[in-house]
């Protein structure tokens, strides 16, 4: 580790923190229907959309109607994306003449983008036409992110409203998230990225004659517009196979820094939206602080492990940190930081190949995803994820002192705790259940690229990433088989929607409750004690659930490497 490496990490954190309050304030105004400086332009568009759709911003929905609207919208998006991939050969914007995407791959990809996972069993430049990239994949980048933000706002309303039967209107929240938040920032971000060197063209691949006279076919495309929303919406699906490691997707250290900030910006701002809407910004800062503690620990562990390098390589007489699968312009600090950021949020973009990380360095992304991506997290998903843990944390605290727990003025009772546990148990079931089946199924084991415990880690990573809706991979695993296309698709679906429904049910249940004034016996949830309690609850639940699986994969691999290096040295 170097001082300069830590300086870059500190710079990143400073940027995110500087954006949290301004963006949080702006988003609060957007979702409470107040005027913003974009209203003169976007207001008429917004109202026109509602009129055509037959809905109105005055129409408030019960939580069940909210969930149904969300599910119908996502189902329609899934069908459209599946259809576009199957028909791409007959559609325009296809200069490389790509043919139809096979059935199971198209199924996997459609689920993947609708659930904000963006797991990629395909290589972008070799499979998808420009039309599918722009009008299929990138549209879901916007809409799955908007869906997540809408759900988070609905859950916040559950805490903020008193004796209300409704939690907002899905169509309005989703439309506002896209028009006022995602689209304007994406436009600025896309222009910035082109300035840094990211291509934005509809022209076909270019054939170059290299200095040594060889032929090099350089794939191009309308990348900048797609990468902007892929980062901002924590989607993560790359235009190119190598994702943000590709010099076109992420040409400079500066584009890398800005892309990382974009991944965290909305998720961090949503904690501030929460604080503002429940009437005490400190409640939001406390949640962000708990996230910060876990984030700092992850960065330190990952960076330390990558910087110390691979003992088996050192035994060959080559000194230095682990550079396999990393780009020189990012180096070890920015590659480690990116890996932690992308898995703390549910982004899944990668600027280095996680499969080639050191055993412990590669374990950190797995842990981040296993905890449910609640360290800032996916846009919206991170906030409702951590609020589920908050429910558990205040419940545990309540048990310790023998009082009915309260959080931001709402009594947390059996129903909320049961629903939160249901949502939190779905994830490990999908992650560990599918991993267990795949490790005994010969056709699934055949997809493994690396021998020994690392092969197990590849499978564990795949289902963890799918169920957590991350989308990054230990990419050596051959995921484009019928087994993985279908089961990863199911894991993504389960991890997204079976988590959302209980979360919105909690919102409905909380919204209907009275607000109780804080008393001497109320646990303050805006201070250090609560931050510690929340971090503790997350680590205990996560640790008990996942430690055995980690011990079989990265941990045993780490000791195996140490033992082998000791013998050869």
């Amino acid at each position: 580790m170097t001082v300069n490496g830590w300086l870059q990490i500190a710079l990143f954190v400073a940027f995110v923190l500087a954006l949290t309050r301004p963006l949080g304030g702006y988003m609060t105004r957007v979702f409470t229907g107040e005027r913003t400086w974009l209203s003169p332009v976007l207001g008429p568009v917004e109202r026109g959309f509602y009129r055509l759709a037959g809905t109105s911003e005055r129409e408030d929905q019960h939580w069940l109607a909210y969930v149904v609207a969300m599910l119908v919208f996502n189902a329609a998006g899934f069908l459209l994306l599946y259809g576009l991939q199957r028909a791409q050969g007959m559609l325009p914007f296809n200069p490389q003449g790509m043919g139809a995407v096979p059935e199971t791959l198209a199924f996997n990809t459609a689920v993947s983008f609708v659930t904000n996972t963006n797991w990629q069993n395909y290589g972008g430049e070799g499979t998808m036409s420009y039309l599918v990239q722009m009008s299929g994949l990138a549209v879901q980048n916007f809409l799955s992110a908007a869906t997540g933000i809408a759900l988070a706002v609905a859950l916040i309303r559950g805490f903020a409203r008193r004796e209300a039967h409704a939690i907002g209107n899905f169509w309005v929240d989703m439309t506002r998230a896209t028009l006022y938040v995602l689209l304007p920032i994406s436009i600025l971000l896309a222009l910035f990225l082109v300035w840094q060197g990211v291509p934005q063209t509809l022209g076909p691949s270019v054939e170059a004659t290299t200095l040594e006279g060889a032929r090099q076919v350089i794939a191009l495309g309308p990348m900048a517009s797609q990468i902007a929303i892929k980062m901002l919406g924590t989607n993560g699906g790359g235009f190119m196979n190598a994702n943000a490691a590709h010099p076109f997707e992420n040409p400079t250290a500066l584009s890398n820094l800005v892309q990382m900030v974009a991944i965290f910006a909305i998720g961090a701002a949503l904690t501030n939206v929460f604080g503002r809407m429940v009437g005490n910004e400190r409640q939001g800062f406390a949640i962000l602080a708990a996230m910060g503690v876990l984030f700092a620990a992850g960065v330190a562990a990952c960076y330390a492990s990558e910087a110390s390098g691979n003992p088996l390589v050192h035994a060959l007489g080559i000194a230095g940190g682990n550079m396999e699968g990393k780009e020189v312009r990012f180096g070890i600090a920015l590659s480690s930081l990116f890996a932690v950021v992308t898995t703390a949020a549910s982004c899944g973009a990668v600027n280095a190949m996680h499969d080639s990380f050191t055993a412990l360095g590669g374990m950190i992304p797995i842990i981040n995803m296993e905890l449910g991506e609640i360290i800032v997290g996916g846009v919206g998903a991170g906030l409702y994820g951590i609020l589920l843990f908050v429910v558990i944390a205040v419940f545990i605290a309540g048990l310790m002192v023998g009082r009915t727990p309260e959080y931001v003025g709402k009594k947390i009772e059996a129903r909320e705790v049961k629903l939160a546990l249901l949502a939190l148990l779905i994830l490990p079931l999908a992650m560990l259940g599918f991993t267990a089946i795949a490790t005994v199924l010969p056709s699934a084991v055949a997809s493994i690229a690396n021998p020994g415990p690392h092969g197990f880690s590849e499978i564990l990573y795949a289902y963890t990433s799918a169920a957590a809706n991350n989308g990054s991979a230990f990419a050596g695993l051959t995921g484009n088989t019928d087994w993985y296309n279908v089961t990863l698709g199911i894991a993504m679906f389960v991890g997204r929607f079976l988590m959302i429904v209980p979360a919105v049910a909690i919102a409905g249940s909380l919204a209907a409750k009275k607000t109780v004034p804080a008393s001497a016996g109320t646990l303050p949830t805006d201070g250090g004690l609560f931050v510690g309690l929340l971090v503790g609850a997350i680590l205990v639940i996560g640790g008990l659930t996942f430690f055995p699986a980690l011990a079989l994969g990265p941990i045993v691999e780490h000791f195996q490497i140490l033992a082998t290096a000791a013998h050869s040295g």
Binding site: F49, A214, Q216, I218, G321, S356
Partner: protein
């Protein structure tokens, strides 16, 4: 449920038109006006032909050029297109090796690379980035140490003075942005292009 079908379909169509066509096409138009060269892929021309992109690494194998990092990209086998064979710096199929840290194939590959490199500059420490593949397989850069490591070999092949070559490499070292962001690096393609230009002129 039926009540939700109209807004679902209408908004899906409207947002597909807005975010799936108007936004990317608008950005394409704007990028073509503001940053035409970069939007088209930062292509580099020499004598009227495209010789590469300033951002994309290319394969250098000859003694007279500085080499980039090993690349794990694959391409279709000319004999049987359903199979893949090694095709370093294939810019239409970016990928890393995805070899895990404990994989003997990784360690064997690194050892072979190291032995080959050590023979070209005996006694010097082999830099890490010259024996490891990049994440994209298209890394345009090497570390300054990796560039200086190759000076004796290139100088010999070109019949150049090592000190002159060393100065040229030093001129191609890009530092960190504001002294903090990123890592020092040398763009191999730009360096080799310059090398050819000097030799030609």
């Amino acid at each position: 449920m039926l009540k939700q079908i109209r807004p679902a379909l209408v908004l899906l169509v409207l947002f597909t038109l807005l975010t799936g066509l108007a936004y990317p096409l608008g950005m394409t138009g704007l990028a073509a006006v503001l940053f035409p060269q970069k939007a088209a892929g930062s292509l580099v021309m020499r004598d009227g032909t495209v010789v590469g992109s300033a951002l994309i690494g290319q394969n250098f194998a000859g003694e007279a050029y500085f080499h980039g990092r090993p690349s794990a990209t694959l391409g279709p086998d000319p004999a049987d297109p359903s199979k893949s064979v090694a095709a370093p710096y294939n810019a239409s199929n970016s990928m890393g090796s995805n070899l895990g840290p404990s994989n003997p194939a990784l360690i064997d590959r690194i050892k072979a690379e190291k032995d080959a490199l050590a023979a070209t500059n005996p006694g010097a420490a082999v830099p890490m980035d010259l024996v490891t593949t990049s994440g994209s397989g298209l890394d345009p850069d090497i570390s300054p140490e990796a560039a200086f490591f190759q000076v004796p070999r290139v100088a010999k092949a070109r019949g150049m003075d090592e000190a002159v070559l060393r100065a040229l490499v030093a001129a191609h070292v890009d530092g960190r942005l504001f002294g903090i962001i990123g890592e020092p690096r040398v763009n191999v393609f730009a360096l080799n292009l310059d090398l050819d230009r000097q030799a030609g002129g």
